[in-house]
């Protein structure tokens, strides 16, 4: 049953006065996630923006900042310890990490924790580069995007990895036969909250990949964050779907996709392609191919 705005918990689990940039999408997504999981939650935060801004007692739930590479290992230990003490019931274990900590550095640890069938929720905030350290490219950076390590100049024109080689984390995790995996977006909070609810109900590992446009790193006006997040979905850059026991289902159907230029024009990391029809067509081709390939996998 679809979640409604009136069903959303009024309880806040984050204190005011955090150090996140104005308009930070991670704060938005984390706030909504904790609203669903409630106060009986232990949060393990891999290094990243969120770990930094959560300092000074912002979360009202137990929150630990660990390394990039070991967050799923730490949650495994907590899971086992709670089980041994007979206190695992009614507790939610959550790992939050960025795309760098998930797709690049922490991938082996995540793979191991899923393989051991530990009971936890893994939430990845995908802002498509290492924003906390100055915006270096990561395994999920979009084709053509400017980052501090893929600059625009006479030789390089932003990220040059072909769009089809971008790491698809949900599919990588799905290959582990995980009970629940989903992609989400901060632009659709009710959809995100519903997925967190389903992930919490699963016994065993669950994975949610949350798309989060970064105002600072992508060069977006802070007020347009939610709009850009929605455009990523309506242009088909990302597909919102969930996978329950291997069956994939689209949760946000897009019947008529908008042209990719609509999405790119808000972001200064794509400033060099604005007006360049050829470059936009190249990005559009990648998006189309990915979208078609993704749709072919869907069961419903």
């Amino acid at each position: 049953m679809a979640m409604k705005l009136k069903d959303v918990s009024r309880e806040e689990h984050l204190s005011l006065g955090n150090l996140a940039c104005a308009g930070c999408p991670e704060m938005l997504g984390f706030r909504h996630t904790l609203k669903v999981l409630g106060k009986n939650t232990i949060v393990i935060n891999a290094t990243g923006c969120l770990a930094v801004v959560m300092q000074m007692g912002v979360p009202k739930v137990p929150h630990f900042h660990v390394l990039f590479e070991n967050a799923p290992a730490v949650i495994s230990g907590i899971d086992d310890a709670l089980k041994a003490m007979g206190k695992r019931e009614d507790m939610n274990l959550l790992v939050v990490a960025g795309d760098g900590g998930t797709a690049d550095i922490g991938l082996s640890s995540l793979s191991g924790a899923i393989e051991r069938n530990q009971d936890f929720i893994y939430l990845c905030y995908d802002n498509e580069s290492y924003m906390n350290t100055g915006g270096q490219r990561s395994g999920t950076t979009s084709f053509g995007a400017r980052t501090s390590t893929t600059p625009i100049g006479s030789v390089t024109k932003g990220e040059d990895r072909p769009p089809e080689l971008k790491k698809d984390m949900v599919e990588i995790v799905a290959a582990h036969h995980i009970p629940y995996a989903a992609s989400a977006s901060i632009g659709y909070p009710l959809d995100l909250m519903e997925k967190v609810q389903k992930a919490a109900a699963v016994r065993g590992p669950s994975y949610i990949h949350c798309h989060s446009p970064c105002p600072t790193g992508w060069g977006i006006d802070t007020r347009d964050i939610v709009k850009v997040a929605k455009l990523a979905v309506t242009t088909g850059c990302i597909v919102l779907y969930e996978m329950v026991d291997g069956v994939r289902k689209v949760t946000k159907k897009v019947s008529k996709r908008k042209p990719i230029g609509e999405y790119l024009k808000y972001q200064s990391r794509f400033k060099h392609v604005i007006g360049d029809e050829e470059a936009i067509a190249e990005i559009q081709r990648g998006v189309d191919e990915n979208f078609e390939a993704m749709m072919a996998k869907m069961s419903a």
């Binding site: 705005l5 005011l16 955090n18 308009g23 007020r223 939610v226």
Partner: protein, 97 residues
């Protein structure tokens, strides 16, 4: 951040690096704001979208009053407000500080 409070905290916490919940409340982030959201209650339909989309959670879920002590002025509420009841005004006096 009050220096006295910090020193007391460090003394109490000894060498354990933990912060009690809500310790960040001293950090009044409203001082960061360049533009200020102003809600027109006449036009507000109380749909709750501004409350839902506020990354800081500084909009009240019942009255929709904005907490200017902590609002960073990102403007997402003004952008997402369907009836256009929230207007971003230039911050002149820096009263959030």
């Amino acid at each position: 951040m009050g220096m006295e409070k910090y020193e007391k905290f460090v003394k109490d916490a000894k060498d354990v690096l933990t912060y009690p919940p809500g310790w960040s409340l001293d950090n009044k982030t409203g001082a960061w704001r360049a533009t200020k959201p102003v809600l027109d209650h006449e036009r507000c339909t109380e749909c709750g979208l501004c409350w839902l989309y506020c990354p800081e959670a500084c909009i009240d879920s019942e009255s929709f009053d904005i907490d200017y002590d902590y609002c960073k002025g990102c403007g997402i509420c003004a952008e997402e407000c369907r009836p256009g009841a929230i207007e971003m005004q230039r911050e002149e006096t820096g009263e959030g500080a």
